[in-house]
């Protein structure tokens, strides 16, 4: 009998001691999780996209509960989620500034060319490892659609070899912006319709040679903008959206057609 009893007793006692230790530990070292934080986490979409600027929904909920974050930072959730967060926190919320992705390249297949017969895997990430991509322009869209694959809302399509965002479908999560190896995609408030669709930082003569639609850094837009919202840095015009009024002056002035407007 002893041959059975000793092992059974040892096992039972080991198990008992372990469970007692665990119960005691769980009791005395319990970390209080704020009920508010759990509710907030519940209200967030849970996409963990990082558009709020925090590492995922859990952290955003924690920051919200601690009062270190604004309630209107969840872009995919939009106004509905902001409203819900406001209710939980008991504060009034400003409306969410909804954002939209803009592909800052207009080098469609009729405007620019390829410089190599690229036969590798059909992804931008792989193509970009070969001399920054197969296109003549080293800054532009390669057109293999890593952003299209990244978009969970089917809001991006390839049109004439360049990614284009459907502004009615885009929720502004910014996943495409992270996927683009050339960093072409910017997140812009949906109320702003003007954008410089070029990212080429070469001098005008060079960028003109590789793409007909490129920004040549002529500063015509900078001079003509009535609100001083455009600045040319590194031979490339960029709009300061806090000043832009959608007046479209720059769109009319641009000699190469690099600045576009899109009705939203």
């Amino acid at each position: 009998m002893e041959a059975i009893f000793t092992p059974v007793i040892i096992l039972v006692v080991t198990g008992l001691i372990s469970s007692i230790v665990l119960v005691v530990a769980a009791k005395f070292m319990a970390v209080k999780v704020d009920q508010k934080q759990l509710d907030l986490r519940e209200a967030l979409p849970g996409a963990n996209c990082g558009a709020c600027g925090f590492a995922g929904c859990d952290e955003y909920a924690a920051k919200l509960a601690a009062g270190e974050a604004e309630a209107n930072q969840c872009v995919p959730g939009g106004a509905a989620v902001a409203q819900r967060i406001g209710e939980i926190l008991g504060v009034a919320v400003d409306n969410v500034e909804a954002q939209c992705a803009v592909v800052q390249c207009n080098g469609c297949s009729s405007a620019t060319d390829t410089v190599m017969d690229y036969q590798g895997p059909k992804t931008c990430a792989a193509c970009a490892t070969f001399f920054q991509g197969s296109g003549a322009c080293k800054f532009g869209c390669m057109g293999y659609g890593d952003c299209v694959a990244a978009c969970q809302y089917n809001a991006i399509d390839l049109v004439n070899g360049v990614a284009q965002v459907d502004r009615t479908l885009c929720v502004g999560c910014g996943m495409c912006a992270k996927a683009c190896p050339h960093g072409l995609i910017a997140m812009v408030s949906v109320s702003k319709t003007v954008a410089v669709l070029c990212s080429n930082k070469d001098k005008g003569a060079i960028s003109r040679k590789v793409c007909k639609n490129s920004c040549i850094g002529c500063k015509k837009c900078e001079r003509s903008c009535p609100s001083g919202a455009i600045k040319v840095t590194d031979n490339l015009a960029r709009i300061d959206y806090s000043l832009c009024t959608n007046c479209n002056t720059c769109v009319e002035q641009c000699p190469t057609g690099a600045i576009h407007t899109s009705a939203c």
Partner: protein, 196 residues
């Protein structure tokens, strides 16, 4: 001292847990997609291996062996390691939240990891003393870290490659794991000659 170094280098290079003993293959394939999660997982494994050895070696030596219950080691070790990892998780959450956030999601995954159990049992099989056991545990963990980091690098290349359709996903990952394992054969004999 020489024995300690031999154990350390053997388990890191020639007897690597993943690549030659095929222990811990599940996290090796599952968590090696990104370098930072691979490192996080491996550090958690080192930590748990050391803790598990520190607890199981005395249990075996002072409780099981004197009572002639050597055959109970597997079940007792599983029980003790599982409870230990849970306890560590609770303690970390309370006192070292930064470490908990870094290792937190990996700790429950390792509770029943075969590499952890394997190390504790190999300590007994090889009749190591306590110090040798601890070196073996930490060394195996470091070997796991090495394998994970190397394989994360390999996988980042495999991800953008374009294998035939039937090879995509896990099959090509297993093939590359095999090639990495073969490359570790190159370390054969190095330890014996280093400390000859």
């Amino acid at each position: 001292m020489k024995e300690i170094l031999v154990i350390l280098f053997t388990v890191i290079l020639t007897q690597n847990a993943c690549l030659s003993k095929f222990l811990g293959i599940c996290p090796f394939l599952g968590v090696s997609k990104k370098l930072d999660s691979a490192v996080g997982m491996s550090v958690a494994v080192i930590f748990v291996m050391a803790m598990a050895t520190a607890v199981t070696w005395p249990i075996y030596t002072f409780l099981l062996a004197p009572n002639g219950l050597e055959y109970m080691q597997t079940i007792v070790f599983i029980l003790v390691i599982a409870a230990l990892v849970q306890l560590v998780e609770i303690v970390l959450k309370k006192y070292v939240p930064a470490l908990y956030r870094a290792l937190g999601i990996y700790l429950p995954l390792i509770t029943t990891n075969c590499a952890v159990l394997g190390v504790t049992i190999l300590n007994i099989d090889n009749q190591y003393n306590f110090l040798e056991s601890m070196v073996n545990a930490v060394g195996t963990g470091v070997g796991f870290l090495l394998a994970m980091v190397l394989f994360a690098g390999v996988r980042s290349r495999v991800e953008v490659s374009d294998p035939p359709k039937s090879f995509q996903g896990i099959p090509i990952t297993l093939v590359s794991a095999a090639i990495v394992a073969v490359s570790f054969l190159g370390f054969g004999g190095i330890v014996e000659n280093l400390f000859a």
